[in-house]
Symmetry: C2
Subunit: 517 residues, 2 copies
């Protein structure tokens, strides 16, 4: 009994928390309760009237199925209900008249037409294009079958009574939903996209900081490995942006039903542009995801190397996050971008980073291993380098190389001996060995490269591991630069949205003018 | 009229195609029609019986709301319907008795309790944990309100009549849905995961081929830039795997309701492991996505460079795709993995690739630019290299470097002059310049690096671009190697599933034995 009581208490606390974090849910529930009460009251008052004695179930049914969280969803369902009811009623009336003419076969005609209607409606509603009318098909079937099967003597009276009831129910729904504390799906869509911008910016900043502070995961959360929601703040940010597609689609489906309102005072408001903008953001978020992937990777650049490039990486990352936050803020305020190029700074930062990489690229490669090849000329003309490249392409050379590699297969070492962890002086190697847990979840593979049997280090393999580790920094920066390149696409999407949705011109804040003046 | 006729014809063709590609949809629709006809026939036959004269609407309503595509969904809805109806009926009966005792205030009690029930049910159903009982809450409200408001004199008779009707409807649904051509959600989930494996493998192979054949996008489809569904086969494969989360969640929600059946003869079949496996696959698919990202990127490695590493890249890619296909096939057949390590080959390939990169890393960097730094020692001990790295970390050096970079800001060049495209002899540069269309969609940024004003090439920037272009190959291979590393996680997930779901032991095909013997 105590356990049960604890469960009840936990549920109550959870429910209360839900209401506190989103008060609109409380408002929605109260509106629903009020709508139902209102219908009950109407039914009690009109009980004397002849039309309402029967079938008041229809008013209640209508409220319960049509009343939805947002106005768009309610309008969509109401439209479906009306269309389904009216078309089914008319069709059923026709068939009922027809079946009467057949006399004895009357019931056969009814059963056959019920089958046909059931087949066609159920089949068509499975078509992807019909998805938003799914509810209309259900209502159609319900009305069609009931009208055909019921065979009331006074058909017209029943039909009018039901329609009246449905109209009362729908009317109460609309008034309650639109006039009292309206909840707009469009507003939700807008806020969702803004939130995604913030989330991706937070993830990007987190990635950069984690990378530069050389903080690694002592153990990769297994939820990340199977892409489930996890509490990692860095992961949550981009995952939410990537995962919001279906939510956006459904909000879009409702938002297009909503009349102009509030800040969205425009007929045919371009809601689909919000979804496109969010898609462009997602396209950037995939690069943040790849950056996070390099942090999760087992082959890691040494902390020395990271420090050598930290200025460039930090600047590019910070500027990139700044652009994301700027766009998010402008979207929230529904302002156009300022006339100057918002990407100026971040492009400069990325170029600097690229030049830095270029100048210090000797840190990224293992010059010793060149000994087996001809060394590259030191300060000759570019033609010579081109020539060298061509020479490498000769198949014979490639073959001899790969043969050489085959002669030296990597030893298999499934187990790791913690006593020798200190022998490797590279940061990443020791980091990666320190989390024994990881072996359960993570691959055994790169360990084959680094330690051989009884802690005898195979120099060649250590070298290969080290070169991979240094190149992993190049990968991180390349991904960061690709992220920056993708920002242009995001800015284009934003500009398209801001044009189509007629965002305000940016207001120069007086503060800025003061500084400029 | 002609246009309208064409529309109708188009719709009909589309509907026909849908049925041909998935005949289960036709079967479902026919079953629905048959269930409705059956209920109509029952109503016609029983019209004389007293219980059925009224309220036959309930049987029809039950069929229409409970009959769903898969058995799991039908059982879930049926359970919701039963639970909602019974609990609401009992509660409403109690309150009705109570309200009679209050006499004059009778109607006030009814309205207040309707409000409270409406509020609580609507509020609780918004809680994420209650999502799968959403329909139960609706049914609860409907029954509760109708029972309270209707005030029939003979309450028990009405209740029994309705329950009978509902049971008839539910019975028809169950019999039709389970006994005639059953459609299982679990089977769908299984097939979906298998399909995702194939899709990711196809994408990976496509990426590798496209990269090695130096085929670029002349114009990146704008749908990819905003992450919408596009017809690109390479893109479709991984996108489907990444996007299937919500579909998997809903199939999982239905599959757990299904009794053991067919190949899934086990109570508490571990359906959630399928979702986890698909998550692990998604974690690999993100790397394929990143590989595709490098193909879409503007900074591209030259074709010479790609050719130099093509053997290694191809082998790693082919072996990686082989592993994916193997796992997909095993999953389809529900067989365990063979005792030997399925990753042996792909790990060897990745190691070879890494060594190849290590040995030819001079191709990836721009040795000329080292002139401004001290050259790295050529064949000395490792200690010296370590020392060099430490030297670079001195803040003064980093500062002087970044100062140097700042003195040479990149020129801004928003426009491109097509006449000079031939001056750049690198493959990627010309490729990237050839698609003028791309400028509309894609960033202007890297062009700043390559051409200066009136076609005067700034050597420094060309060099930077070239080094970025060479390092982009290192990025591609790093991502490929990271993909290979993530396969271990996928294999672990598969093994967990195959244990928990008791997959068959692998059958050695006689062919293999013949070859071995």
């Amino acid at each position: 009994f105590l356990g049960w009581w604890r469960d009840v208490k936990g549920t109550a606390v959870g429910a209360f928390e839900m209401g506190r974090s989103d008060p609109r849910k409380v408002i929605f529930a109260a509106k629903m309760g009020a709508a139902l009460s209102l219908v009950s009251v109407l039914i009690f008052f009109r009980k004397s009237a002849s039309y309402f004695t029967l079938n008041h179930i229809w008013a209640i049914l209508t409220v319960i199925v049509v009343f939805e969280f947002s106005i768009g969803a309610t309008l969509n369902k109401g439209f479906n209900r009306a269309l389904g009811t009216l078309s089914a009623g008319a069709l059923a009336l026709g068939i009922a008249e027809l079946s009467k003419a057949t006399g004895a076969l009357h019931q056969v005609v009814v059963v056959v037409s019920v089958f046909l209607a059931g087949f066609l409606a159920s089949y068509l509603k499975l078509h992807p294009a019909m998805k938003q009318y799914e509810y209309g098909f259900r209502v159609f079937l319900l009305t069609f079958c009931i009208v055909l099967v019921s065979e009331t003597p006074d058909f017209l009276k029943t039909a009018v009574s039901r329609l009246l009831q449905i109209m009362v129910g729908a009317g109460v729904c609309l008034v309650m939903n639109v006039c009292v504390f309206p909840i707009w799906a469009g507003e939700d869509l807008h806020k969702l996209v803004v939130k995604n911008f913030r989330g991706v910016a937070t993830s990007l900043e987190g990635c950069i900081n984690m990378y530069l502070q050389c903080v690694g995961y002592s153990r990769i959360p297994s939820k990340i490995l199977v892409y489930q929601a996890a509490d990692d703040i860095l992961y949550k940010g981009y995952r939410a942006a990537v995962e919001s597609t279906s939510q956006e689609e459904s909000l879009l489906g409702f938002a297009v039903w909503e009349p102009p309102h509030g800040r969205y005072k425009m007929f045919r408001y371009p809601w689909s542009e919000y979804v496109k903008l969010s898609g462009a953001l997602r396209y950037c978020a995939f690069m943040v995801m790849a950056l996070h992937g390099s942090i999760l990777s087992e082959i890691q650049a040494s902390s020395d190397l990271r420090r050598a490039f930290s200025d460039g990486i930090r600047r590019a990352g910070v500027e990139g996050a700044k652009v994301l936050r700027l766009l998010g803020e402008k979207l929230e305020k529904m302002e156009k971008l300022n006339p100057e190029d918002p990407l100026q700074e971040v492009h400069d930062a990325a170029e600097n980073l690229q030049m830095m990489i270029d100048q210090k690229s000797y840190l990224l490669v293992n010059a010793e291993s060149w000994a087996i090849e001809k060394r590259p000329p030191n300060s000759e003309e570019q033609e010579q380098r081109q020539e060298l490249r061509e020479r490498v392409n000769k198949p014979s050379l490639v073959k001899s190389l790969s043969a050489l590699v085959h002669h030296n297969p990597a030893p298999i070492l499934p187990k790791y001996d913690p006593h020798n962890a200190n022998r490797s002086n590279s940061f990443s190697l020791s980091r990666w060995h320190s989390g024994e847990d990881m072996f359960k979840q993570q691959t055994v593979w790169p360990s084959r490269l680094s330690l051989l049997g009884d802690s005898i280090l195979n120099e060649r393999e250590v070298r290969t591991y080290e070169s991979a580790s240094a190149l992993s920094l190049a990968t991180f920066t390349s991904l960061l630069i690709e992220f920056v390149a993708r920002l242009q696409n995001l800015v284009n999407s934003f500009e398209e949205l801001s044009e189509k949705a007629k965002f305000r011109e940016p207001v120069e804040s007086t503060e800025t003018q003061m500084v400029v003046g």
